[in-house]
Symmetry: C3
Subunit: 417 residues, 3 copies
């Protein structure tokens, strides 16, 4: 009995006390104790010259070892301790464009105009389309026509009512919206925004040629490992002219927006009309056991929002913001902008693994347990399936006859009873 031995270890102290009491009067107490504590108890074994069972036994052992070493250690790297990445990202968009619309005439756009927020966080928005409502002031104007706002006379409008789908608080009057339609007057920022007139081709179609520089600095705190996505061997001159390309420039941190969108399987011009969300995923999965050089960022791109209209609300990506002005006489006016565009989210993830003694012990230990199953199986086959099973049983196992105080072989009295 293997484990008998260390069970003894833990039970030793108690047993010792009992035995010491018994042994104290006898001579050679110390020698007895030494023998009690350090005599070595080992199982009696019998060697059975059956090559079949022997081979089966060795082969199964071999399979378990191969499995553990091959799969658990090599493929799954179960001997490694892991840590999750911590990251900071800064982004910088470059590019400009000229638009020419009937509303505002020729207009030049640069980074300060179309990137929101301007400070280049891990998440940045590039404006590609917009509905502009200039010169809004706090005043009264007729509501946009809708089943609930159309009225015939003032009785249809209730002062102070605010329809959640409307644009302001009703004043109780019914006014001419156009020559044919009358709607309830509301208190709001007037004139009201009419966002149904969204251009079908994106305003800033040229945005597809803008580029973004992504700087990413990561840390694996458990391993005190720091790295940047701009590798030490990359030179400034290369960075000034390179552009990311999976096959030719996989390490360049400058991405053309069109390239990002097309790698995500989308069309930039399509997406630019109503906006959307795009993930720039940076995978920093690393094996830190070898030289640190094999820890590189892997870029991939994926659309994050749902473009299917069936189970969607507020499809695309847009938000409203306003630029506030003051007129010469101190009145506040604003230009309301409903901005459509692509929000790029830089998502950094990854797990680093490094050899550590604890997972190694745990995984090897667990594998040893499986090895200990092997003789159990081999024994069972030996006494059950072999031709000479009676012979083997007789020599392996004895059956204690308590009354006669003798052992009888299993083969004749028990095993085949």
């Amino acid at each position: 009995m293997i484990l008998h031995h260390y069970m003894d270890s833990s039970l030793l102290l108690i047993s010792l006390l009992v035995h010491f009491a018994a042994m104290s009067k006898s001579a050679g107490c110390c020698k007895s104790f030494l023998h009690y504590a350090f005599d070595y108890e080992t199982p009696k074994t019998v060697v059975i010259p059956n090559l079949g069972v022997g081979f089966l036994f060795r082969f199964t052992q071999f399979l378990v070892v191969v499995y553990v070493v091959g799969y658990v250690c090599v493929v799954q790297k179960a001997y490694q301790e892991t840590d999750t990445v911590i990251s900071t990202v800064s982004t910088k968009v470059k590019g400009f464009a000229l638009t020419n619309t009937s509303d505002i005439g020729p207009h030049f756009w640069d980074v300060a105009d179309y990137v929101i927020p301007p400070q280049g966080d891990h998440s940045f928005f590039v404006l590609t389309n917009m509905v502009v409502t200039p010169k809004q002031v706090q005043s009264r104007c007729p509501e946009l026509p809708s089943p609930s706002s159309i009225c015939v006379d003032d009785c249809d409008c209730v002062e102070g009512r605010s329809d959640p789908r409307g644009n302001g608080i009703q004043t109780g009057l019914c006014e001419n919206y156009s020559t044919t339609v009358q709607t309830c007057e509301v208190l709001s920022w007037c004139p009201l925004e009419i966002d149904t007139k969204l251009p079908t081709s994106p305003l800033l179609a040229a945005a597809e040629n803008f580029t973004v520089l992504i700087k990413n600095s990561i840390t694996y705190p458990k391993f005190n490992f720091h790295r940047r996505n701009i590798m030490p061997y990359i030179t400034s001159s290369y960075l000034k002219k390179c552009e990311f390309n999976r096959s030719t420039d996989p390490e360049c941190p400058i991405f053309r927006l069109k390239h990002i969108v097309s790698e995500a399987g989308e069309d930039f011009q399509d997406m630019a009309v109503k906006g959307g969300m795009l993930g720039i995923l940076i995978d920093w999965s690393c094996d830190l056991d070898w030289w640190a050089g094999n820890c590189f960022p892997k870029y991939s791109f994926r659309r994050l929002d749902n473009k299917h209209p069936v189970n969607n609300v507020a499809p695309g990506y847009n938000f409203r913001f306003a630029k506030y002005y003051k007129t010469a006489d101190g009145e506040e006016t604003r230009t309301l902008i409903k901005a459509y565009g692509i929000r790029f989210d830089v998502i950094v993830f990854g797990t680093a693994g490094k050899f550590s003694i604890v997972p190694t012990i745990v995984n090897l230990g667990a594998a040893l347990s499986f090895l200990s199953l092997v003789p159990a199986v081999a024994d069972w086959i030996l006494v059950t399936c072999t031709r000479k099973r009676d012979l083997y049983s007789r020599h392996k196992t004895a059956y204690l006859n308590e009354d006669a105080d003798t052992e009888v072989t299993v083969g004749t009295t028990y095993g085949t009873q």
Copy 2:
């Protein structure tokens, strides 16, 4: 000895070399080698017909198996590999309100006015109260009265001094703050903000009825599993009119602000006065073993800041921002706004588990080890606590007498010495 066998495996190579040297001269070398490598060595056993110990042995085995299968596997799902969620969030607030204060008269508020930042990130701020200081210009004005700023004449003020608790850099003059108090003049944005006059009821009390739409897209990169919080079977028409409610609409991604705050155990109107931080927690803990359908977001809400005034500094949540204007003659003026409000942080967390062979092996293996403890305990009971322990010891254990080269039974010479 079980493990003897595979120890042999690893020691085989060395032993073989030694033995080959010894065997090389003898005939039948190959047959000898085969027998050496594949003879099967198995422990001799004795069957003891003691139903008590036998039952105890089987019962303990049963307990360990039940424990491992029941607790470790079923309850703790220790056979699973896990991965941490990666998420993107976009939010969109809806609602408008009319305020009527003595300062600025009736004023209409919409999303572009009260949501900061406007682009609807995972963290958004809804303005509920404010201290407005309009028409500030770079100039000189008397400091707000405080023990350190009150003065009698110019000697009390030092040119260029800047008190960290003050509002500007002293010019060295002492000016009339009011008809009764004189304070040092400072260079600053004047007039100075007086933020002690915070309204006791929130300005935008109506904000409690605003709603926010939360779109959340998650990924478990290890399992290549993507999901959105708007499930595929939810229709657009449902999304247009639903509102989150734990019992009736648990899957609707549209939340009324008042509902969020009250689920967090707070009162919206209370919180709106001085502001605060509220976490919208989305738990994406998933079991990906079964059909993927059982991976749903679970929403919960919690106040994140400390509302107890005792160990707090700058209680509530507020920040200052300014709108910059230019007067007709080119001078820059600004409207300083100290904005109080509720910052909502959408916090996405979760761990997904999926069956994997490595944790299964490790956990089963560790359990097997515990099973191997059972016979050690049973043996110890057998030779220590049973009535016929001498009989059993005698047949189980022999004591080698080295001098006589014979074995003696333990019962008579050693065990009960």
Copy 3:
């Protein structure tokens, strides 16, 4: 054979069916079954009075136990289940400064002017230097001189061409940039920004004395553990006057910017010229087993961007934003600001551990497996390296002679063959 027993357990059902069929006709069936299921099979052992091997055996056991208990349990805390921190951060910068430049004259700066974004997220930017280009309007002006923009006459300029390194879209005309240089005229926001004139000493040098209050609220969802970086025993009065210092005030959440930068090993004035990124790392690694009081935030500071110019593009940290104005006649003008400054990223990380039964079982189980290696080693030494190895082999191992149906001792027939 230890594991034989529970192998039997799992094979019992099948075996029982077979045996029941065989036993059904015999008398005493039930008693036979009881004996079959509950007879206790235990290995025969021989006690070998070799103190050397016995001591080696006990000592190796002791080493394994010490290793497992000492290293795996105490040092590595492998008995703990872990969870990753979830955190929210709010920040509030305080301070003001006066600048006096030839461009804009004396100017007073407060929080609303230099903190971007204003709402105090986990990432905030403190402006320290800037290039201001006021009164830009959409118009035409000659491009900045560069090899590609210098021209002699209109033939050198192509209408509609836009150079990615330029500042606008060429109109096709060649205009006087200065009295000596002619460049192509571009359509852009004019006048163009000249960002090469960056002041060599930072504009807001005084920013080093600004302070930032960091409020951090964390959660370990698995353990339902919540905590703030402002401990419950810290009083408001302490918070009003304290300042973080690693030795004297390690728990004060108010940090002087200069202190942060110098702890990161950088010089504030150096960094302020071209900007940079600084990480404020908060480590919430906690041992939740003991009283919760030993779970404290540990602050550290690290520069996140690359200051070495060799493998760098766009060194430092800057971004462009604009303030938009309207002139009296409704024309839009803007002040373009290229803002240089330090972006502070509050990075919260940490893992909490708490006693859990599953990792305890797994780690103890794996350790037990290693203990079971010990007798295998001891046996091998016993029959290989000891002086009386023949004697021990003869009594430990028998060799089955199949033909004679007798066992022969290993010592004479096999082991030393």
